[in-house]
Amino acid sequence: MSASQSAVRSRAEAVAVSRAFDWMILFTLFTAVLGGYHIHYMLTGGDWDFWSDWKDRRLWVTVAPIVSITFPAAVQAMLWYRYRLPIGATVCILALLLGEWINRYLNFWGWTYFPVNFCFPSNLMPGAIVLDVILMLGSSMTLTAVVGGLAWGLLFYPGNWPIIAPLHVPVEYNGMMFTLADLQGYHYVRTGTPEYIRMVEKGTLRTFGKDVAPVSAFFSGFVSVIIYFLWHFFGKWFNKTNFIQDDES
């Protein structure tokens, strides 16, 4: 067979090869995103995602969506403008959560014995699905950034509330009040993480009394819109073949 001949000899063979490519590309994309996104999220979201006693109604709600909309925006740009596939955000979150659960279960629990109910990851799936659907329906980066980015921020806290609410039940312990999450942080010793490192409930957002989570979520959504634009362009920028040398040129 010469180089100019096709590698396949029938339509059935072509379909089979195409499907094989599908799974290979999807697997490669999934694992590459798992690695890259996981490292990115650990470095930027870090402790807010690691520990239940960092999952507060102000900073966790603000930081986690902002730093996590990055890869979904970039991968959406690639999969949508090249293939019209509205699965970029969902693929990212599936990959991230798989990596996170492997890490939390094998490392945090299996290796260092922190209980899983103390070091479970945040749930980012509701925002991812909505982001993908908005892109599919609108076929517009601007619409997805504005509506989807805002939804990404707004859905984060309520999407996680069923998971963290039980840990915000108060308890009296040695004459002081804690939430159960606070007590987890106190009981399960993190030698290298002193309490003052914990960035929770800081800030001057006091005008809204106890209802600061929605305000934080809105702010997070606004910033997520900007971050979405930025990373969407990163996705488009890297999603080129300019770097492949053309033999004929």
């Binding site: 195409s18 109604r57 509701p126 609410a165 009981h187 030698t191």
Partner: protein, 414 residues
């Protein structure tokens, strides 16, 4: 020749792989906490831990033990370390092998960061509940914001039993009895599994049809509008609406199930009450201090004035958790860690009691391998070559006085 080269290359590669694989299986337990690596001046001139007591050397899972004692916040705190205005009484253990059941400074529970005052002495206690079997080095530890961890002495404690039997029962303010070790686990697994399944369903909906090659061809041949059908949009709307409905309903039902929740508790605790230490009647002036590198010994010339009404003798010099004792005056009966105890490490040029009203200048030598083992000799490489420590004087009745010393140190290399 090429054949031999190829074989050597192949075998080398195999050997490399075998070595790397073997390295994975060599995972010895990390026993120490880097206490010897911490700069000597940090250990000498920040927090002095003394009168320490580890209540047990061996505990079974679910049993408790405590570390208690005093900590002196050194008045000559180094400039290069932030003041202990935000500090946290920690415990130096390899992860949650114990749970910290309680920690107190004075009588105040200190689950959060505290402000400590320079020159003051505080009592402290850390209550630990055994969780994971093994032999663990248990250190006292104070974290200081801007200064890092300041680790105190460590002692080996053995935990026996099975971690599977560990329980951490609590009664919440809503009256529910829970085991914090496993509380809410099934709820966490359920919600994550549900959302993961929904995400997978969305992915599979698109994966069941040809994806990359045909779609790319369609995109480049002007058929992009054919790639998303009306059916696809309907399914997408179903997923989005379903997602928002699940979020809303689950949030509502969670609020019904947990009507009382509170925000995470945080904030600095001030007003730690120091222990009233008796005003020392002994005044010590450091005339000079040298560290003899070859002899692993520090020699001080001290002028000591006894303003009290009973004769006193110098019994102990303590610095960086290493205790140098004069065996004629003091014998340790607290079970202090052997490696930090120089039972005969303190010698004085004139060991006779210093009478009331007397002023005496004498040579005091603190020598022990601990200078080297605990890398205190590295003090000579610190940016501010000073030493500091606590001197303990005893009268005939065994009453103790604590005097702090802080002075420049000159190294001697011959």
């Amino acid at each position: 020749m090429k054949l031999i080269k190829d074989k050597v290359a192949k075998l080398s590669f195999v050997a490399l792989l075998v070595t790397m694989t073997a390295a994975i299986f060599y995972t010895p337990t990390a026993s120490a906490h880097g206490e010897k690596s911490q700069a000597a001046f940090m250990r000498m001139r920040t927090i002095h831990w003394f009168d320490l007591n580890w209540s047990k050397d061996e505990v079974a899972v679910n049993e408790t033990m405590s570390i208690s004692g005093k900590l002196h916040v050194f008045a000559g705190w180094p400039e290069t370390v932030d003041k202990p205005e935000v500090s946290f009484l920690n415990i130096g253990i390899p992860g949650p092998v114990f749970i910290r059941a309680g920690s107190w400074i004075g009588n105040q529970l200190v689950p959060r960061s505290v402000t400590l005052e320079l020159g003051e002495t505080y009592t402290f206690k850390v209550l630990l509940k055994a969780r994971r079997p093994g032999d663990w080095h248990v250190h006292t530890m104070m974290n200081v914001e801007g200064g890092g961890p300041i680790i105190g002495p460590g002692k080996w404690v053995t935990i026996t039993g099975s971690m599977g039997s560990f329980v951490n029962p609590l009664v919440t303010l809503t009256g529910e009895t829970i085991d914090l070790e496993t509380y809410g686990l099934s709820n966490i697994y359920f919600w994550h599994a549900l959302w993961y399944a929904i995400g997978l369903a969305w992915l599979l909906f698109w994966c069941k049809r040809p994806m990359f090659v045909p779609r790319h061809i369609a995109m480049t041949t002007g058929k992009r509008d054919t790639l998303i059908s009306a059916g696809d949009k309907k399914v997408g709307i179903l997923f989005a609406v379903g997602t928002m409905a699940i979020v809303a309903v689950s949030m509502g039902s969670t609020n019904d199930k947990y009507p009382v929740t509170t925000p995470l508790q945080a904030g600095l605790m001030r007003g730690m009450v120091p222990v009233e230490m008796p005003e020392p009647s002994v005044v010590v002036k450091v005339e000079d201090a040298t560290y003899r590198v070859p002899g692993r010994a520090m020699q001080m010339t001290l002028t000591i004035t006894n303003n009290g009404d009973s004769a006193v003798r110098l019994g102990e010099f303590m610095t960086a958790s290493v205790r140098f004792l004069d065996a004629d005056v003091l014998e340790d009966e607290t079970g202090y860690p052997d490696d930090l105890l120089a039972e005969e490490g303190l010698t004085v040029s004139d060991g006779s009691p210093i009478a009331p009203g007397e002023t005496r200048t004498m040579e005091v030598t603190a020598s022990d391998a601990a200078w080297e083992v605990y890398r205190l000799a590295d003090l000579i490489y610190d940016p501010d070559s000073r030493f500091a420590g606590l001197l303990f004087f005893f009268n005939e009745d065994g009453e103790r006085q604590m005097v702090m010393v802080d002075a420049p140190l000159i190294p001697s290399f011959i």
